[in-house]
Symmetry: C2
Subunit: 222 residues, 2 copies
DNA sequence: CCTACCGATCGGTAGG
DNA sequence: CCTACCGATCGGTAGG
């Protein structure tokens, strides 16, 4: 346990939290050690006592986020066990990860832009198990005729990652690109709902009409 | 004309080009005026003779990109006139815009992350006409039963922008997240193809089997 | 965890 | 378009 007796997290954790926030908002070079220290309520040299350099702080921030991701993966894979709403369950758990801390998507996206050669393999490693499950699920669905036969599983997964990452990282900016009349919360809802719908509709075949009490389809539509 | 007699662009244009490149690669704070000046082959004070401040240089870079976008829009809208492959034509022209200069997507994405409140309305203004056409096209398609009735046109457009922007900005990093066996060019192709497929498959209904010889289409909808 | 301080680099200016 | 220079801020260190 790294939390102190009173409710407040200990200093290293508070540094990590504020660094996450400021790196996500202003980027690695745009957020100075002074800014981060001030947000924590200490001086810069004190910060450097806990993290030997700015770059070590960056790596620690990233590592903490990937640890959180690793904790979320079992939940996601459990959601992917069986049942007709597997996809919704995986989607809900994945969205939850980015919703739990709104800094995660922009932080990851910035790292991908700033240091692709360093981050890509790191992400690949952690996303691999998740992606493999989803790809297998897709291929099985294709054999069973539930999934579009022309889906390229790996490329589909990559594009959905793009969609989710960018969707969360810029939804604060892009929701106003839509017509203004909607409230902020409503605009976010519309964007999230459409994000999931796009991911689903591009994956599944339009269900060959075999729900419980339906006749052999053909004319059913609307 | 701003180009000199010999093939080389004039100095301000060369500054804009290098600034675009370095802002896209390292971000606004991460690319110094010294770096940009050196890439052009002049000294920093000379650069500041052409652009009064770093921020003015940033605005000029952005303005040039939006100007290029404005030049692409008529081509895109012309492609959207009529014919069954409207969507492919719009897609091809839009992809061409980002392909013509690989710095455009990351530059725009970085600006959206760094200065959402400044960039969002600016993008909204320039994307509005394009988005309106696409939204009208979607709604017409919905009335005609060619497009999924549960597509939220504005949200769909926003998500496709996300997909394209992030897809181009990070495709260099994420294509290796896929299985490695493919060559770089092939991986890019797979990602681009899947990007278009996702955008299309989530939009159109699975063509109600009434190809060339079209009749009034009364039976297609219950 | 602090004060005091370091060289390097930042954006920008003076002056020609 | 240049050389020479400015104050401010950067990441990081000494020393307690």
């Amino acid at each position: 346990m790294t939390a102190e007796r009173n409710g407040r997290p200990d200093v290293p954790q508070r540094i990590l939290d504020q660094a996450t926030r400021l790196f996500a908002r202003h980027g690695f070079v745009g957020a100075s050690l002074r800014d981060i220290a001030r947000a924590v309520g200490i001086r810069k040299p004190s910060l450097l006592y806990h993290f030997a350099s700015k770059d070590e702080l960056r790596r620690s921030v990233l590592e903490q986020m990937l640890t959180h991701w690793n904790e979320a993966v079992p939940r996601i894979l459990r959601a992917a066990t069986s049942g007709p709403e597997q996809f919704d369950a995986i989607g809900a758990e994945t969205l939850r990860f980015f919703n739990d801390d709104p800094d995660r998507a922009p932080l990851l996206l910035r790292e991908l832009l700033d240091r692709p050669e360093e981050i890509a393999p790191l992400v690949a490693l952690r996303v691999q198990p998740w992606a493999k499950i989803v790809c297998d699920y897709i291929r099985k669905g294709q054999e069973q005729g539930r999934v579009h036969p022309d889906v390229d599983p790996e490329a589909y997964v990559a594009q959905v990652i793009n969609l989710v990452l960018c969707g969360f990282a810029t939804h604060a900016s892009l929701r106003n690109v839509l017509t203004a009349p909607t409230s902020d919360g409503e605009a976010t809802d519309r964007l999230l709902r459409e994000m999931l719908r796009v991911a689903k509709a591009s994956l599944f075949l339009p269900v060959p009409a075999e729900p419980p009490t339906r006749r052999p389809a053909a004319s059913a539509r609307a």
